[in-house]
């Protein structure tokens, strides 16, 4: 395995194919918890955590499904795995690392229904990544989510003080902003590294 491959995957997940701004996955938490910077950071780290774990756990499940010739059951099986994983992690953290549990707070169970998490495991399969590549893709995909939501939250904190036309107040102007950010991130499409 080459480090360059992993770097390629990481760069792709964070910038070129950013989960939110290029693949449009995980938009609901992106809009929902980006009103304040501290909640956005909390959500971002929770997503990194769960995406990394989900990638690791779904890899053997996918192998099992492939061996049984049940490839078409991927989506259902992955949803099951992710939901159970998040529940388990929540209980484990509450007991073992209460400080981390309090820091992640309500965002941990929220992630169960985050399409970015399901997206990352399905993309792992689609791209034919091996175990380590999958985990790297999951963690860096979460880092991309953190980057996008932190940038967006800092813009939204300033939007609070802006004076847009009445019809644009609140969500409409936030959606326009998100669109402009996605446009900016299209600039990273040119980042192709010739190894």
């Amino acid at each position: 395995m080459e480090w360059t491959t992993l770097f390629d995957i990481a760069l792709g997940a964070i910038l070129i194919n950013n989960f939110i701004l290029a693949q449009f996955l995980g938009i609901c938490p992106f809009m929902g918890v980006s009103k304040k910077m501290d909640t956005a950071v909390g959500m971002g780290f929770a997503v990194i955590f769960v995406m990394g774990l989900a990638s690791a756990l779904c890899y053997p499940v996918n192998l099992l499904l492939n061996n049984l010739g049940l490839k078409y059951m991927q989506t259902v099986a992955f949803i099951l795995v992710i939901a159970a994983l998040v529940q388990f992690v929540e209980m484990f953290l509450k007991k073992a690392i209460p400080t981390l549990y309090q820091a992640l707070g309500v965002y941990l169970p929220l992630i169960t229904t985050n399409c970015a998490v399901l997206g990352v495991v399905l993309l792992n399969v689609q791209n034919g990544y091996n175990f380590i590549e999958s985990v790297v893709y999951g963690i860096t995909g979460g880092a991309g989510f953190l980057l996008a939501i932190v940038l967006f939250a800092s813009i939204r904190e300033r939007l609070e003080f802006a004076d847009p036309p009445k019809a644009f107040k609140g969500f409409p102007i936030a959606l326009v902003t998100a669109g402009l950010m996605a446009l900016c991130f299209m600039g990273f499409q040119g980042l192709k590294i010739p190894w």
Partner: protein, 273 residues
């Protein structure tokens, strides 16, 4: 045959996860005091921060740990406080209800530095860009609504005169508005009190008079005429000692500026816009 495998595989997967989770819930069980939920139920759940703890859950934990008194929540009514006291097994004395009060009634009637202010609609920002506020009076309410944003209970609004005004029935005395106000113009008063002095300027009479048509000029007529000795003029404005005030209304009559008001006689200080 394929469908059989599919059902079997997912069934087994689901069963295994269910089993692991139910085992985990036993293994990782964290015992929480059932009192915590009982206390949390009594708290308003607005997470206003008036108690000084991070949200209602933080306050409940502090009450449970006996770090905070049972009446730590400034927003709780007497009934809620007594329920918390019952959970904790202690007595609580009846407390006088207090509310926030904006000690300014100038707004459009106070002279302004500019014809029109077009900056951010936020008092803190206005204080910074315009050199200590948009009013000539250094003590008055700017009326840009920083306190309105701070209120979690929809109890403070900007009235027709462009001054913040507290809806006393909705006010829970969390005093977040007073903390947010860069002019420190919001004080707390007993809910039952009638007589209010809606001005707190510290300028001497002549200058206070020239800056605002509804300012206290520190003439001491109220102080001299109060039969209960409840009013004192300090820092060039009148303030009322509510432990002595009998709401007789003599000061309301005597005030030459028509500033001192009986808010319950007139309904409100001013009609809300």
């Amino acid at each position: 045959m394929n469908i059989f495998y599919a059902v079997l595989t997912l069934g087994i997967l689901g069963g295994v996860f269910g089993l692991v989770l139910s085992l985990a819930s036993k293994v990782f069980e964290v015992k929480t005091d059932p009192k915590l939920d009982l206390i949390l139920d009594c708290l308003p759940g607005a997470n206003c921060g008036g108690c000084g703890y991070p949200g209602c859950a933080g306050c409940a934990a502090a009450i449970l740990a006996k770090e905070a008194p049972v009446n730590a929540c400034p927003s709780c009514s007497g009934l809620q406080t007594s329920r918390i006291a019952a959970v904790m097994g202690v007595e609580v004395k009846a407390q006088e209800r207090r509310v926030a009060f904006v000690r300014c009634n100038g707004g459009t009637r106070a002279s302004r530095k500019f014809e029109r202010y077009v900056g951010l609609t936020d008092c803190v920002a206005a204080m910074k860009v315009s050199g200590n506020g948009t009013l000539d009076c250094a003590y008055g309410c700017l009326g840009l609504g920083t306190c309105v944003q701070a209120c979690k209970f929809d109890a403070i609004h900007i009235n027709a005169h462009g001054v913040a005004q507290v809806d006393q029935d909705k006010c829970t005395h969390c005093m977040q508005c007073a903390k947010a106000c860069p002019r420190h113009v919001i004080i707390d008063v007993p809910y039952a009190s009638d007589i209010m002095v809606p001005c707190g300027n510290k300028d001497k009479g002549p200058s206070a008079k020239s800056l605002c048509t509804v300012s206290c000029i520190g003439c001491r007529l109220c102080e001299k005429n109060c039969p209960a000795g409840a009013i004192t003029v300090t820092d060039n404005h009148a303030s009322i000692d509510y432990t002595k005030c009998t709401s007789c209304g003599v000061c309301v009559e005597k005030c030459p500026r028509k500033l001192i008001t009986d808010i319950h006689a007139t309904g409100k200080v001013e009609p809300v816009a």
